[in-house]
């Protein structure tokens, strides 16, 4: 593949019992590009994202991230390589404060190592202070700064989605995987989320986004891949694939 490909998914398949969720799906994301993954319910989009994120092992096929084969790698190893996902269902840490939710995400903390614990606070205090400063920057940007000491479980649904994206950024992603970021979010908050995602795109953060709200896909993603019944059926600019008869048919049939 070309040298500037960040993620190369080739011919992956996965079935659950007798159901073929994903069949021979391929897609590529270049550096600095965001890709939308769209299609009717049951198309296999979340399964693809799960395989890329290490939550599911593909039955066959290959997934290369930054030149390294990651198919079947456990999710924390995928995460530590900078492939950070969000979930379809809000997955904040409810009994941690908003600020702590972000602090957890910082990779490679000395205070999380046994040796760091033995050496005591001196070993990780400076790192922690930098992390707090960084987390507060992100919270301010996502307009969550005033909630920093609130339990994350007490936030509204929309705020939780924002928190999850902020937390993902705290992990320093090389590629952000978003699984329906606006699902179940109040329309007022959708606008906020949309603005944040657009800013991320402008900053050049690569993203793979599953989203039903095509207006957002249009704003955030340069390119889309359309899936239906486990197969990739089209690929290209949103306007261009929307006009294809097979895409129209898939949406009607789905």
């Amino acid at each position: 593949m070309t040298g500037d490909a960040l993620l190369v998914v080739s011919h992956i398949s996965r079935s659950f019992g007798g159901v073929q969720a994903v069949a021979d799906a391929s897609m590529t994301i270049s550096r600095g590009e965001s890709l939308g993954l769209i299609g009717p319910n049951g198309a296999g989009k979340s399964t693809v994202l799960g395989m890329v994120a290490g939550a599911l092992v593909p039955d066959s096929g290959s997934i290369r991230f930054d030149g390294e084969e990651i198919a079947g790698m456990p999710s924390h190893k995928v995460g530590s390589r900078g492939l950070i996902r969000t979930f379809q269902i809000s997955s904040e840490f409810p009994r941690l404060t908003v600020l702590q939710n972000l602090l957890v995400a910082l990779p490679g903390q000395r205070g999380e190592q046994v040796w760091g614990l033995i050496r005591g606070r001196g070993a990780w205090q400076a790192e922690e202070e930098r992390a707090i400063a960084r987390a507060r920057e992100l919270l301010a940007r996502f307009r969550l700064a005033e909630m920093e000491s609130e339990y994350a479980g007490n936030l509204s649904g929309g705020q939780r989605r924002l928190l999850e994206v902020a937390r993902a950024l705290m992990a320093g992603p090389k590629l952000l995987l978003l699984d329906e970021p606006t699902a179940g979010v109040h329309p007022k908050m959708v606008g906020e989320l949309r603005e944040q995602l657009r800013t991320l795109r402008e900053e050049g953060l690569p993203m793979l986004m599953i989203e039903h709200e095509l207006g957002i896909v249009e704003e955030v993603c340069q390119r889309v891949v359309v899936m239906a019944r486990g197969h990739v059926i089209a690929e290209g600019g949103l306007a261009e694939v929307r006009a294809l008869p097979e895409v129209k048919e898939a949406y009607v049939a789905g």
Binding site: S91, F93, T97, L139, P173, L205
Partner: protein
């Protein structure tokens, strides 16, 4: 007041200390990491046994140790080595149990697996006479420094209360270091949503394993502290139900809170456990033990129904330098308590996008 009361008091205080050490350990596993360790008592038991065999004299063959007991090894190590070895034994046993359970099982299945491990351990210890003298257990276990100090019994008991208190403080310092660290935060995150923690690149199994080993080590230590005072240890002392006594203490006191644990221990094994002893005799001689377990069971049910967070819930951590919302207007918050932190309200010349690609 006769000295009988003083003996009773020293015994209670040592029990209190043992229960505090054990519950601090269990809290790391259950409160912090959310691991349903229904086998907790076996780590205390192994600590007690290991203390015993490293203080009792050598056993040259079956039935040839101190007092004609059969046990492994047998060597009279000086204080404090047997305590350290008991702690290590707790860690090692915890490692093997964790290796079987933690990577694969979660929630109800995890709890069940630990429960059956506890039953297997009791079965082996009871029926294999050559390991720890089977169902009869070990007795005549030497007390630390008793030969050196040469105190009258009651004075020695008070000395031992002091030693227990010191070990309690050490255990508290160890657990405090964990609960207030980024590791403690990671363990809470894993407890709340393991999948999300993994997706952030965190090795959740490793973190859970760490918490489990710390808990196992403290349990082993608590067993050594206990057995060195009561000088006898048998499978009847550590039936699987004993794990639930500690779990009840944590449920009542509050998950993940040091003060809550102290209160839980004071209330559950000590206050309620001892109050039951003063109930009028009723039926068989096993009535008191049975009544204690019924009280603990009832307490667990009541708390799970009406106050699942316990008497003193986990504390919410606030970080210095959060400031007033108005100070953050403009999206450039001041750094917290860093040496170069600008005074509140001063605008820092650091603008532009604050994302990863800053």
């Amino acid at each position: 007041m006769g000295s009988g009361w003083e003996f009773y008091l020293t015994l209670l205080l040592v029990y209190l200390g043992v229960d505090i050490i054990a519950c601090l350990g269990l809290n790391i596993q259950l409160g912090l990491a959310g691991i349903m360790d229904f086998a907790f008592i076996i780590f205390q038991a192994v600590g007690a046994y290991v203390y015993a065999i490293f203080t009792l004299g050598p056993a040259n063959g079956p039935g040839q140790g101190a007092g004609g007991q059969s046990y492994l090894w047998g060597t009279s190590l000086p204080f404090p080595l047997p305590y350290i070895l008991a702690t290590v034994a707790g860690v090692i046993l915890a490692f093997f149990c964790a290796a079987v359970v933690l990577p694969r099982l979660r929630g109800d299945y995890e709890a069940m697996a630990f429960l059956v491990i506890s039953l297997i351990a009791t079965g082996i210890a009871t029926n294999q006479v050559g390991i720890f003298n089977g169902a009869n257990g070990l007795y005549g276990i030497p007390q630390p420094l008793s030969g050196v100090l040469n105190l009258p019994t009651l004075s020695y008991d008070w000395f031992y209360v002091g030693l227990t208190a010191v070990i309690c403080v050490l255990a508290w310092l160890v657990t405090r270091r964990i609960t207030t660290s980024p590791m403690g935060r990671l363990l809470r995150a894993v407890r709340e949503n393991e999948q999300a923690a993994r997706a952030l690149g965190k090795d959740a199994t490793r973190a859970r394993m760490f918490a489990f080993l710390v808990g196992g080590g403290l349990a082993g230590l608590s067993g050594a502290v206990l057995v060195a005072f009561v000088t006898a240890w048998a499978p009847a002392s550590w039936g699987y139900a004993e794990s639930f006594v500690y779990i009840t203490a944590i449920v009542v006191g509050g998950f993940g809170n040091d003060i809550g644990i102290l209160i839980g221990v004071l209330l559950v094994p000590i206050l309620f456990g001892e109050l039951v002893r003063f109930l009028p005799a009723y039926g068989r001689s096993t009535w008191i033990g049975a009544a204690q377990l019924m009280v603990y069971g009832l307490l667990t049910l009541l708390f799970l129904w009406f106050r699942p967070q316990g008497l003193i819930p986990e504390r919410r951590q606030r970080y210095a330098g959060g400031g007033e919302p108005s100070l953050r207007a403009g999206g450039t918050p001041s750094a917290p308590s860093a040496p170069s932190a600008p005074s509140a309200g001063r605008i820092r010349a650091r603008l532009g996008p604050v994302g990863r690609l800053r």
